[in-house]
Subunit: 210 residues, 2 copies
């Protein structure tokens, strides 16, 4: 199909498609003449993926590009691809200061990783975010929230296992598994977050709404 | 204390404190002379809360202001305050189009709410996000991820109950409960998200990393 039809089918405006082509987020079409290219289902599918990451998950285009480069690479391991997806949805952050709260939080996180036998890179951005969040909860006098970390980790471990099982059971090839893991990682976040807000709203409606 | 000391104690630069004062995110200090004000523990505490919401949770300043207005209001119900916190961490979104995937997703969400007896406002932003996310997973050929929604909801329900219990058990006054619920709502999101990434990284390291 030509670019106009690709736009119609995918719902993505032509100038946006051209921008994605220039930025190499979308592979070039097959040239049918010096000025015209033809696009296929692969392009429709890729455009849907880009829009999901940009519009729904709010991932910046530069990070989407990194994730897609991982997907398109023949040599990058799935583990490294997941690392790229993780960086796309977390911001790099330095521990801003070393207070008694951050020290207590770092100790709590170390204990958590050890007790759960989680193997994570010591410079994983999520590790800093977790430590800072716990430290902040403590500094705001919300120790009882910081103390829920283990209960959260129980739940999180359970559904992460389910995700991995669903992804590997439903996809025969490594490429398909990779794409599914990336989508699950990024959109799963949106799913869990919106479910949590709905659960909270419902509990709050029953408890605190006159 | 004077503004310079408030800056030192809180770690927030003086110009930023002045900006928060102008924007009414921070209540004015007590005037000790026409050009000088004195600040107290309440200001330190409020600055910490603002920085947590802005820096850690990435909430825009305008939305932080809404959340704080809710907290400072004597008449707003806790339920409405929670509504403000929810809007602060979700973007308003319209369902972009009506495809078979969005219709199937809407039906799945309706069934979910009915089976769990969740009472939520029909224009809750999280409802649109949830529906769009499920529809997008389907359109990307990831039905098996969309089918995990019930398992996610089980887990989410469990830890939301724990959060509410922790918050109400540990705070005697409605004002304190409100602040804790808001912090739990917004920072809890950061906590769960970072735990999930760490759990994924660990599972991936064991499965896919050579």
């Amino acid at each position: 199909m030509r670019i106009a039809e690709l736009s119609r089918v995918s719902g993505v405006p032509v100038p946006t498609i051209k921008y994605y082509l220039r930025e190499n987020l979308l592979p070039p079409g097959e040239l049918t003449s010096p000025n015209q290219a033809s696009y296929g289902d692969l392009h429709v599918r890729r455009l849907r993926l880009i829009r999901a990451l940009v519009d729904l998950a709010g991932v910046p285009v530069a990070q989407v590009k990194e994730v897609l480069e991982g997907l398109d690479s023949d040599t990058m391991s799935l583990h490294d691809q997941i690392g790229r997806a993780h960086r796309a949805i977390t911001s790099h952050r330095q521990l801003t200061s070393c207070t008694p709260d951050t020290e207590a939080a770092a100790a709590q996180v170390d204990a958590l990783l050890a007790s759960r036998k989680w193997t994570v890179d010591s410079d994983a951005p999520a590790l800093t975010t977790l430590t800072e969040t716990i430290a902040t909860m403590r500094s705001l006098g919300q120790e009882h929230l910081a103390d829920l970390v283990n209960a959260y980790a129980d739940a999180v471990e359970k559904f992460t296992d389910l995700e991995i099982a669903a992804v590997t059971a439903n996809h025969p090839t490594p490429d398909q598994i990779a794409e599914s893991v990336i989508i699950g990682t990024i959109l799963g976040e949106t799913l869990i977050s919106s479910l949590r807000l709905l659960a909270q709203e419902s509990i709050s409606a029953h408890r605190w709404h006159q």
